[in-house]
């Protein structure tokens, strides 16, 4: 049984609720960043690059059987860990869901500043691009 979009978000929020200390939250993010497959350096393409002022992000989007599938990578491990969370939530969703549904877990776990324009780590642009890629199939 595939979890719904919001169920996936709620599960992440619950996972993070056990931590009081910020360093522990980041340790989990870093572990996620290490685990996710990403896009190996030799497979990265220029058109996939999102050049943030602080860190760089590569994003690849595909659609298979009307479901979106993303892979992404970053040169910074914290950025990559947050990418892992975003991908966990968006992968396997219908394009319509990605375009329409509210992405609230980032705020709830206190990572909203990573998706602010001032952070300049490429994540804000990445979410925009994920939605745009989904929009192509709506």
């Amino acid at each position: 049984m595939i979890e719904s979009f919001n169920e996936k978000q709620d599960a992440i929020i619950a996972d993070f609720q056990v931590f009081d200390d910020w360093m522990d939250k980041y340790e989990m993010i870093i572990d996620l960043g290490k685990e996710i497959q990403g896009i190996t350096v030799d497979k990265r393409k220029d058109e996939q690059l999102i050049d943030g002022c602080q860190s760089r992000v590569w994003l690849k989007a595909e659609i298979d059987n009307k479901r979106m599938s993303f892979s992404a990578d970053s040169d910074a491990i914290i950025t990559k860990g947050i990418i892992a969370l975003l991908i966990a939530v968006y992968n396997g969703e219908k394009p319509e869901t990605i375009v329409k549904e509210d992405l609230y877990f980032i705020d709830q776990i206190g990572l909203q500043n990573h998706l602010s324009p001032t952070r300049a780590n490429g994540l804000l642009e990445m979410v925009k691009r994920m939605k745009l890629e989904a929009l192509k199939h709506v």
Binding site: M23, Y26, Q54, S55, D75, I77, I78, N121
Partner: protein, 408 residues
């Protein structure tokens, strides 16, 4: 030793923001190369201006306007004295260092021709690169780059060979914002003058950390930002030699910079107003004066020595960390240290330092060509000011070690 530190703690106590907590941890503010915190007297001056003096300057016959004009012009005189300029009409108020460089590139640039050369260095901030690239597009001048050595010092020998009859201007930073290198500007100015070129010094990083005397230096232009010497943002200074400023055309048109306007012809105001179109940042100018008053009120010799001690202590402690590499190892260096740890991305370390209350800068520091030179995406930069102390360096080192252990 104790008395000395007590004196420095007395200075620190004048900066209210330093008592702040960030993410529940005491703030350690090591981003002083980006901007400095403000002493209470600067904060009070801004408040007093708006609560009892606010009015427009240089034109009102009424009392308030006269008071504000007087205070603004007094600030100009204080700045003139502080940097050792000959005349107050050589002090142009700007928005900051970037604005000052753009003013010169635009105005002095009008007097340049195709084929003329402007020399900059490989360690310049983007603010001292892009205005010359724009001028190159506009006027066909050539921007040439003085290379640097791996230790972050300027390649003076190559510089010697680059000077020629086409060199119209050498525009160079006094201190590198990324590496901390203090450039030998006295030598550079002499050599450039011998070749018939003018010299613009970007003093954004130096104004806070040492005595600057434009007369002794004999530079043609010197620019700096108020917020980097304990003053407000949005105000800066361009010093220029009167003879040069007189020859240069206005930068922007508008109020204050004119003498007489008709639809056929406009005549321009005299210096410094020729370069100050529109209502200026009045309170900024006044409060910058107060910031310099603060600098004059302290024993700067002791303060600057204290900054150097902090740098030496921080570098000593940093180098004990495995795989830590410092970028910029010039013997003559200001109180900032740029580094990376192994292959860990600077953004990751910066993020984890922030969560522990440590404010440093990470990234390319607006010097992307310099990052390309070292083949790195960026660095972590800790920059110290006179109000920082050794205990803060200890907190920083402790937090850094924790960040590294989490990231390894």
């Amino acid at each position: 030793m104790k008395g000395k530190s007590k004196y420095m703690e007395g200075i620190r106590s004048q900066f209210p923001l330093l008592n702040k907590k960030v993410h529940g941890k005491p703030l350690v503010y090591f981003d002083n190369a980006a901007t400095t915190q403000k002493p209470q007297k600067v904060i009070d001056r801004i408040s007093t201006y708006y609560s009892s003096e606010n009015s427009n300057i240089h034109r009102g016959v009424h009392h308030l306007s006269q008071v504000a004009t007087q205070d603004y012009e007094d600030a100009r005189i204080r700045i003139k004295n502080y940097i050792g300029a000959a005349k107050e009409n050589e002090i142009i108020f700007t928005k900051g260092t970037t604005d000052g460089i753009n003013l010169i590139a635009t105005s002095l640039g009008e007097l340049m021709n195709k084929g003329d050369e402007v020399l900059i260095s490989a360690m310049e901030h983007h603010s001292n690169i892009v205005p010359w690239q724009l001028l190159a597009e506009r006027k066909g001048i050539t921007m040439r780059v003085i290379p640097i050595h791996k230790d972050g010092t300027l390649d003076i020998e190559t510089f010697d060979g680059m000077l020629n009859e086409k060199t119209k201007l050498v525009s160079i930073t006094h201190i590198s914002n990324t590496l901390g290198t203090i450039n030998p500007i006295e030598t550079i100015i002499k050599k450039a003058h011998r070749a018939g070129a003018k010299v613009l010094i970007d003093g954004a990083q130096s104004i806070q950390h040492g005595e600057v005397n434009v007369a002794d230096l004999n530079c043609d232009f010197f620019v700096f930002s108020g917020h980097k010497i304990f003053g407000p943002t949005g105000i800066g200074v361009l010093y220029g030699k009167e003879s040069l400023l007189d020859r240069m055309p206005p930068y922007q048109g508008g109020g204050d910079m004119i003498q007489r306007v008709s639809f056929d012809q406009t005549s321009y105001n005299e210096l410094p107003f020729k370069f100050e179109a529109g209502t200026p940042n009045i309170v900024g100018g006044i409060a910058l004066g107060t910031a310099l008053e603060f600098m004059e009120s302290i024993d700067t010799k002791q303060a600057f020595a204290h900054e150097k001690e902090l740098l030496a202590y921080a570098e000593k402690e940093l180098l004990k960390i495995e795989n830590l590499k410092i970028y910029g190892t010039s013997k003559n260096k200001t109180s900032l240290v740029s580094f990376n740890v192994g292959t860990i991305h600077p953004f990751d370390i910066g993020t984890l330092l922030d969560k522990q209350g440590i404010a440093v800068r990470t990234g390319h520091h607006c010097t992307q060509p310099l990052m390309d030179f070292f083949s790195i995406p960026g660095t972590i930069r800790a920059s110290f000011s006179l109000y920082n102390n050794k205990e803060e360096v200890d907190l920083f080192i402790h937090a850094l070690k924790k960040a590294i252990s989490v990231l390894s």
